[in-house]
């Protein structure tokens, strides 16, 4: 470091309050661009641009479609008319959805966590300090995209299968409900991922957490069933886990149509979204 030459004490500046301004105060700039009061519509347009302009959307949805449509066609080709006596025509989509749900979860997580990971979130919240509006727009846009893609692909599998297998042996069960419920279930899982991503702010952490939420309840019951004290918990887990829920929705479990499983997910997702909203306003970015 250098030897400082004699200088006036630095404290002197802090006390004096800058008497002579060089600019002319009051000559504020006015822009020619018209002023718009922003609303949710603006946030939706912005989020729509965001989701469609990144490669991860293309990849996750592409793989999802490949799994559901490809898997659906494969299963459809392996089955016979007779199989559809007690199964809906959308059943072949079930196998693809089991894996495909992970794609939607990943996309959901990335919608929020990638902004935190890249620092984009600071730009986003500077542009829209109404954080709840940004988050609501993210949920709406993601849900619309996820539901359109998932329900659309299930519908396509159903149509293809019915054209291949609507022989006299098939029972021609109504399958419209499975399209909506199946699409809703996997899309909600994605929204849950989005909320978890917003709370954890870390892509890998949030995806891992979501895999835990989806997979653990289908693995744990095996161990919980051993002990009598945890047996009921194990049974509930087995009944309500994500994989079993999809199986029920697609009629692989006889009788039940998975209504209560969908409601449970609606509840869990709503709770996570509320939690994410609460944290959103309070935390620093």
């Amino acid at each position: 470091m250098t030897t400082p030459p004699p200088q006036p004490a630095p404290q002197a500046y802090a006390q004096q309050s800058a008497p002579n301004w060089q600019g002319a105060p009051g000559t504020s700039y006015t822009s020619p661009i018209p002023v718009t009061r922003t609303h949710l519509g603006h946030a939706l347009a912005s989020e729509w641009t965001k989701i469609k302009s990144v490669r991860s959307t293309l990849w996750t949805l592409g793989i999802f479609l490949f799994l559901v449509l490809g898997g659906g066609l494969f299963v459809s080709a392996q089955t016979e008319d007779l199989n559809y006596q007690d199964l809906p025509f959308t059943f072949p989509a079930f196998i693809g959805l089991l894996l495909g749900q992970i794609c939607l979860i990943t996309l959901g997580v990335l919608v929020t966590s990638s902004e935190y990971g890249t620092g984009m979130i600071r730009t986003t919240f500077t542009a829209s300090p109404q954080r709840y509006r940004v988050f609501a727009a993210k949920i709406l846009v993601f849900f619309a995209v996820a539901f359109a893609v998932s329900a659309g692909s299930i519908l396509l599998v159903g149509l293809l299968t019915s054209s291949m297998h609507s022989g006299p042996e098939a029972a021609d069960l109504s399958w419209g409900g499975t399209v909506l419920k199946g699409g809703l279930y996997v899309s909600l899982l994605g929204v849950l991922g989005l909320a978890v991503g917003s709370m954890l702010r870390h892509s890998a952490g949030a995806i891992t957490a979501m895999l835990g939420i989806v997979l653990l309840p289908s693995i744990l019951p095996v161990f919980l069933m051993i002990s009598r004290s945890t047996r009921t918990l194990g049974e509930k887990m087995q009944e309500y886990n994500a994989i079993n829920a999809l199986a029920k929705i697609f009629g692989a479990d006889g009788g039940s149509t998975g209504g209560s499983q969908v409601w449970l997910l609606v509840g869990v997702t709503a709770a996570a979204v509320v939690g994410a909203f609460a944290l959103l306003e309070r935390r620093d970015v």
């Binding site: 630095p10 105060p25 890249t118 500077t126």
Partner: protein
């Protein structure tokens, strides 16, 4: 106009920003100066409503940031160059920002042109150099044609041409009557652009003064003399009542007295001078002195007794290592 009142931010035990009160006025470039870790970025984040202050208040034209309905029209901010999704193209990055504030698409094209990124508008931001990223960040700040602009270390990573460009940009923006607030840890940079200075160190306000006052009070000018007849020169100067400081290495420094006067004096006494040069202590030095006690991360120079790494060929000047370590300290302004 941005008004800060008693702005304070704690991170646990650590006090990042302590009771900052100052006003950023329109029509001038206000430099926000402080060493690394002084709390500049934290203060700027609080101004933008990204971080919640522990105490105190920030108002933008009398409103809190969160109350702004179309914030990009009020404030354009460049926080850090990489605050964007690398997978998105420059155009789409700006488009999503524009849409969130209802700014027309044509404006995106305009600002891309302003910052000179039109040829790479469709390229992913990931592949951008630091300078290009900085330009894209500035494009984002200019998007809403705001009346307040805030730049956090804008010249970082820019090439000389880019630095020149941003200096002129800031001056012209201020010239249009906008409020320009720019942070830096480089005093020399601020001396060229800012009209007003706010200096902080470890979260405390150290100075809030106009640039010209700061320069006047801090730039020590003196004359450097070198002579083979140093003893006699000293005597002559003492006789003339001129105070002189021996700066070591055979140089003398005279605070009062013009080069003309000193040259005439030496000539009158038939003294040989090897150097007679007016010097000005740099503002950088003044800044370092001002913030010396509040620099958080000090680099430690090696002890003068420690032998230097082996150097071949040996230095031509025969002098002990570390002897002339402060020779260059007063070079240039």
């Amino acid at each position: 106009m941005i008004e800060l009142e008693g702005l304070t931010k704690h991170y646990g035990e650590k006090l990042a920003v302590n009771n900052l009160t100052f006003t950023v006025r329109p029509g001038i470039v206000t430099g926000f100066l402080g060493p690394n870790g002084a709390g500049k970025s934290t203060t700027m984040r609080m101004m933008l409503g990204l971080d919640n202050p522990s105490a105190g208040d920030v108002r933008i034209d009398g409103k809190h940031y969160a109350q702004l309905k179309d914030p990009l029209r009020y404030i354009g901010a460049l926080l850090d160059a990489k605050a964007m999704h690398g997978g998105r193209s420059a155009y789409n990055h700006l488009l999503c920002l524009a849409q969130s504030n209802g700014i027309p698409r044509t404006r995106v094209v305009e600002v891309l042109d302003t910052v000179g990124l039109t040829p790479v508008a469709r390229k992913k931001a990931k592949g951008f150099s630091l300078g290009m990223g900085q330009r894209l960040g500035i494009a984002g700040a200019l998007l809403g044609d705001p009346r307040i602009l805030m730049f956090d270390e804008p010249v970082n990573g820019l090439d000389p041409e880019g630095i020149h460009w941003i200096r002129n940009l800031m001056k012209s923006l201020a010239g249009q009557g906008r409020t320009v607030f720019v942070s830096s840890h480089l005093m020399s940079e601020m001396a060229l652009t800012a009209d007003h200075l706010v200096v902080i160190g470890q979260g405390h306000l150290l100075a809030d003064t106009s640039m010209s006052d700061f320069i006047q009070q801090n730039s020590r000018s003196y004359v450097r003399l070198r002579s083979p007849q140093q003893e006699r020169l000293l005597d002559v100067l003492h006789e003339a009542g001129i105070t002189v400081v021996e700066a070591g290495n055979g140089t003398l420094e005279v605070d009062s007295g013009s080069p003309e006067q000193l040259g005439d004096l030496a000539a009158a006494h038939h003294l040989v001078l090897h150097e007679l040069s007016p010097q000005q202590a740099s503002l950088e030095e003044a800044f370092m002195q001002l913030t010396a006690e509040s620099v958080e991360y000090h680099a430690h120079t090696d002890e003068p007794g420690v032998p230097p790494p082996v150097r071949l060929p040996p230095p031509p000047q025969q002098q002990g290592w570390g002897e002339g370590w402060d020779r260059t300290r007063n070079k240039g302004a």
